[in-house]
Symmetry: C2
Subunit: 338 residues, 2 copies
Amino acid sequence: MNSIRFRNQPTLHSFAAIGGQKEGEGNFGRFFDRIEPDPALGEKNWERAESRLQAETLRLAAAKGLLKIEELDCIVAGDLINQCTGSTFAARGTDVPFLGVYGACSTMAESLLAAGMLVDGGYVRRAAAVTSSHFSTAERQFRFPLSYGGQRTPTAQWTCTASGAAILGRHAAAPYLVGGCIGRICDLGVTDTTNMGAAMAPAAADTISRYLHDTGTAPGQYDAIITGDLGQIGSPLLMELLSGQGIDIADVHFDCGAKIFDPDTQDTHAGGSGCGCSASLLCGYFLPKLAAGEMRRVLFCATGALLSAMSSQQGESIPGICHLVEITGEANGKGGNA
Amino acid sequence: MNSIRFRNQPTLHSFAAIGGQKEGEGNFGRFFDRIEPDPALGEKNWERAESRLQAETLRLAAAKGLLKIEELDCIVAGDLINQCTGSTFAARGTDVPFLGVYGACSTMAESLLAAGMLVDGGYVRRAAAVTSSHFSTAERQFRFPLSYGGQRTPTAQWTCTASGAAILGRHAAAPYLVGGCIGRICDLGVTDTTNMGAAMAPAAADTISRYLHDTGTAPGQYDAIITGDLGQIGSPLLMELLSGQGIDIADVHFDCGAKIFDPDTQDTHAGGSGCGCSASLLCGYFLPKLAAGEMRRVLFCATGALLSAMSSQQGESIPGICHLVEITGEANGKGGNA
């Protein structure tokens, strides 16, 4: 039994998503709270831009919940930039206790797990889970300088310029965090850094199958099983790996990477990626649907590729991880007055 | 009230510390479980060496507690290498759920806080907190290639090649995790990357003063207030900042960075640093003393400098953070049978 239950079911008090221009032009553009037309967000470099994006998303999530940042007891955050400076520089100046996490693109689910424990265990009243990614910070760090104009392979995914933030608390309305599953590191030996979907699919299969087993539930009991950013290549691999275990999620599967962009009009090859990809669709699209009663129960399974530019240069394969949280739109009698 | 209390007081079931040759020749060499004479640990690059160091320390901590790695329910780990590959590559192949954290050199305290919540909240039975640093991985990532032979400034600290691991559980003997305090990001504008002690001292002062205030305790009630790696420069700054608030910790203060090396015989300038510095002294020196009843109550306040090589190149100042855990050697009637 690896899975976690939240006895007091923390409420997802408020949430927000901000995206860049390309994300605004994608399939889910209208669900973002705001689209930033300026990729630099008025800042002098991409890294500062990402920090501003994350800080503004958190501020917006708090404001939508009629909270000031200072009313938070903890910010749980992480991102893809070396030493997570995207998040630490975003939180600098807030005076709110800060827990930095690193799970690559699985960060939103990891942040929600940690923030969920903080609130559910009664350690704090309110905690924020937030993450971000930025196309230009990721390109220069993991791939090539933008000005080099490198060709992208067909299996490559486009790092989203996006951020999602959710504020967890108690004594409030749906949606609620029911439980989750901490991911295990899975490495099947993929070394192609332009094919992250393949590197992450085994981890997604491992976590989803463990959670379904532990909870004794079937895919059909969920309105959606949301994966992070497996994209067009990783998504069918996940289906294949799960079907080998007799699990069929085809009817309820939604991969944020595969769906966020429009493949016909946006040149994103295998889809979107980055911490902000699944975080923004969770906070912009799914959580509002759960709050409105349009969805009842989802699994949010964010996936991460745990490589660095150096590990690949050293010939290492790419370990993947997938953290999972279950979110419900229905109070069970405990969630509403925990 | 920012501080956290662990109602069930998780026990620090077992722990281990491994150090490199220089750490073995330092003031606390005899307290390490093992000294590794080969800085490469038989591996082909420094990064693999650090992962092996961390993996072996965790394995040793488990073995000392008569546990196999597979009996752990979660590993909480982080390190200084880009994208925390030191930790993820160490945990790869273990099949144990993994939570990656990033707190720079504050990581051991952050890992203990997270692992403490996992166990105290009843989410898992056993969780490991582990971290590491390696002189050669840190030098090439944050400073210069070793072969460049750069001069070190008088304020510079020497990154320890060391790892510490602790396994938390329930139903066992002292020492216990009593509570803690999640750090806030403090940035007073220090931009000198060769003076980390100055950058981190304000965060240490902030966390220690908040915890003493929240718990209504005085420094004299602790056998030791252990800071991470403020070194020779940061330690007096911490005293000065705290004395400005009327807090005097001089009699009980122990800075791992200032103490780990012998300034007379080891050319380490302002002392030691790195995640493994405070983690190894905690797991090799303090926890055994607490277990043996030679110490009763300590605060472990690991400090981190949240910079990256790029953030400094971009002219950013260095934010600091300090996470704190209180550890006791005495059962309070709850700790022993939670």
